[in-house]
């Protein structure tokens, strides 16, 4: 039985999926589906909101709204790309913002706030990275639990305060330079780091097949740890932007960013199991799609229930199209 069965010729691929030559159109559809999704939704709401969604006022606010999800999602591409599943982004962002706000209120200096945000976020990133890389544990469930843990720590850090307002910071008249600056720097940095450095390539390979990556001389543990540090960096940038823009932090900061980035990455066409098909662009396209969707629905004034129902249906539709190119015989787990 030894040689014939292990043939890789036409017949069975290792995971039992019937291997059919992938028609180029299916591959192309898979790659372009996210952009198609974004285009579709943009035109849909262009019509429904009689062009108001892309009017001068709203265009700038669209970038504001997309920013936080895009920043955190960009860092998450490294973590999900390396095959680790992180559901604790809300908790991480919340704790980072609270500590940053406390430091800003105590010292009144933006520099101190920035340092505090980066330090706390990197610390959280290291803890998660070590757990993912060195400890044998169902990491998926652990991140949910860690998310709750970090949120609770944030609450404890708040103490009696309910909302921290940083009056010391000067009111920044126009946030756009900061928004665009941070968005551009994170994405350019992300593109270079993910596509042109050994870290990025290692993330994709580890996500694709961890054993094969280890046998190609890639330090799997170091890759996972670094992926979490990059993600922590973008979380700290997001926290800083939030504090600069709103001057407030509370136990509810970062509210739904945990699920928003997952929705964004999936709408951006990135498989949540990671691997070579991970793209930094998925974070940008996905965040844009979800923002246009939310903004469009809000502008139509459809009321909270209808908005969320519509978002659920659109989400499943776009995800189905994005994953058309990857069908397995066994139900995915």
């Amino acid at each position: 039985m030894e040689d014939t069965l292990n043939h890789d010729e036409p017949g069975r691929t290792p995971d039992g999926a019937p291997k059919k030559r992938r028609r180029p159109s299916a591959a192309a559809l898979g790659e372009l589906a996210p952009l198609l999704g974004l285009l579709l939704i943009s035109t849909l709401f262009l019509v429904l909101t009689e062009g108001r969604i892309f009017g001068p006022i709203n265009l700038r606010s669209l970038t504001n709204q997309e920013l936080i999800t895009a920043l955190v999602a960009a860092g998450a591409v490294f973590v999900f790309g390396a095959g680790a599943f992180d559901m604790s982004m809300s908790g991480s962002l919340c704790l980072t913002a609270i500590i940053g706000a406390k430091v800003a209120m105590a010292t009144g200096s933006i520099a101190a706030m920035v340092v505090a945000c980066v330090a706390v976020s990197l610390l959280i990133g290291i803890v998660k990275g070590l757990l993912a890389a060195y400890v044998e544990v169902p990491f998926f469930i652990v991140t949910i639990v860690i998310g709750v843990f970090l949120g609770a720590l944030g609450l404890l850090a708040m103490g009696k305060e309910t909302v921290l307002t940083i009056s010391a910071l000067p009111r920044i008249r126009d946030m756009t330079p900061i928004n665009l600056g941070s968005l551009a720097s994170v994405f350019l940095g992300g593109l270079v780091l993910f596509n042109l450095t050994s870290l990025g390539k290692s993330c994709k390979l580890v996500g694709g097949n961890e054993r094969a990556a280890r046998q190609s001389g890639i330090d799997v543990r170091r890759t996972k740890l670094l992926a979490f540090l990059v993600s922590a960096l973008t979380v700290s940038i997001a926290a800083i932007v939030i504090l600069l823009r709103t001057k407030t932090a509370s136990a509810l900061t970062g509210g739904t960013v945990g699920t928003d980035i997952m929705v964004a990455l999936v709408l951006g066409g990135m498989p949540l199991s990671g691997g070579p098909r991970s793209r930094i662009g998925a974070a940008l396209v996905g965040a844009a799609t979800i923002t246009v969707l939310n903004s469009g629905l809000a502008i139509m004034g459809a009321g909270p229930g209808v908005i969320q129902g519509f978002r659920g249906i659109t989400f499943i539709a776009v995800v189905f199209v994005a994953s058309l190119s990857y069908r397995t015989r066994l139900l995915p787990r």
Binding site: K247, A251, G255
Partner: protein, 378 residues
Amino acid sequence: MKKAACAIALIATVAGMSAFGQAKYAADGRYPAKTIKIGVETFDPSDGGYMGVQSYLKSLSKGIFNVEFIFSERIDSAEQELQFIENCAAAGAKGIIAYYNVSKGQAVAKAAELKMFYWGTAEEKDIYDQYKANPYFLGSVILGNGDHDGMYGVTKALLAEGKTKFVYANGGADFGITMFVNRRLGFQDAINEAKAKGARITATEVPGFPNEAWFAAQGAALAGDIDAVVSSFGPEVWIQPITAAGKARAVTIGSFGAIGPSTVDLFKGMYASGLFSAIATEPTERFGIAVAMIVNAAEGNAAALKKNGEATREAESLWVITNPQDLAKIVDFELGAGRTAYSKDLTKLVKSIDPSAGNATLLDLIKGFSLETIRAKK
């Protein structure tokens, strides 16, 4: 100097708009002819009190004002609040009614920047002082410190009934939500006042919102020797447990609550079964005033209602209902014939409809929904 110059310029443009301000009604008799969009911001769309406001505003938009509301989804963080305001601007809204505010002055500044009239958060003195001159800040009708006074009034009513052993459901106080922290302060002030007068009062807290831990805390509290429950987020989740614990007569409930179609017969039933002592409820009519003020401001006549050019900051106390009679009167005012009459009066605030509209009209309307006025009605 710079501030004053830009204020004058704004008033000029706004005044210019009102040059042709004679009253124009839409086909169906609602005012004004062109639909005005108003954004309504809340922290939790399924909150009982907010749903009462929502149904009141919808009734206004059917009969009286040609307005369309953009109701927000759940808003946790300052980020989401600013995003909602930006979306309303994009939708062409003329005004924002803030049922909830987390980013304090940022929200007012953002609305003004996007040329929308902001109604709300005047109770926070520092924000009010900072923006009272801004033409886009309409201020608000404040219920004093509504949250604090509501719980304070309810606890006082229970103390007056001789209650001494309290359980307090603090809702979101431990989660740092300002509204619930103020409500807890109101409760504690009333209790401490009674203790200062020598009364022996015990008070245990049930933290958070219903989940397994809450069931345990509620059960432990109800098992103890208690005679009163004060809830900061609605009485519904206490009625069944108290009856189940066999303490229907012994323990009475004081709570925040919303007078609405789905809760009226519930409250009447509770009074009948001796379960209820006091309900603190925020009159939804102040949001009717808000709609009228925004419609008026959208036509450039905001200044007419202002006292020496400053945004409105009038206080009126919220309703603390302590007996079935008051409840019946309030219900008639809130839901029955009283509502249609009051809604009609609101149009007096719109200068184009009633040229004599002024600060006095505003004060009369505010007085119009005070508990004393309602009680005085037959």
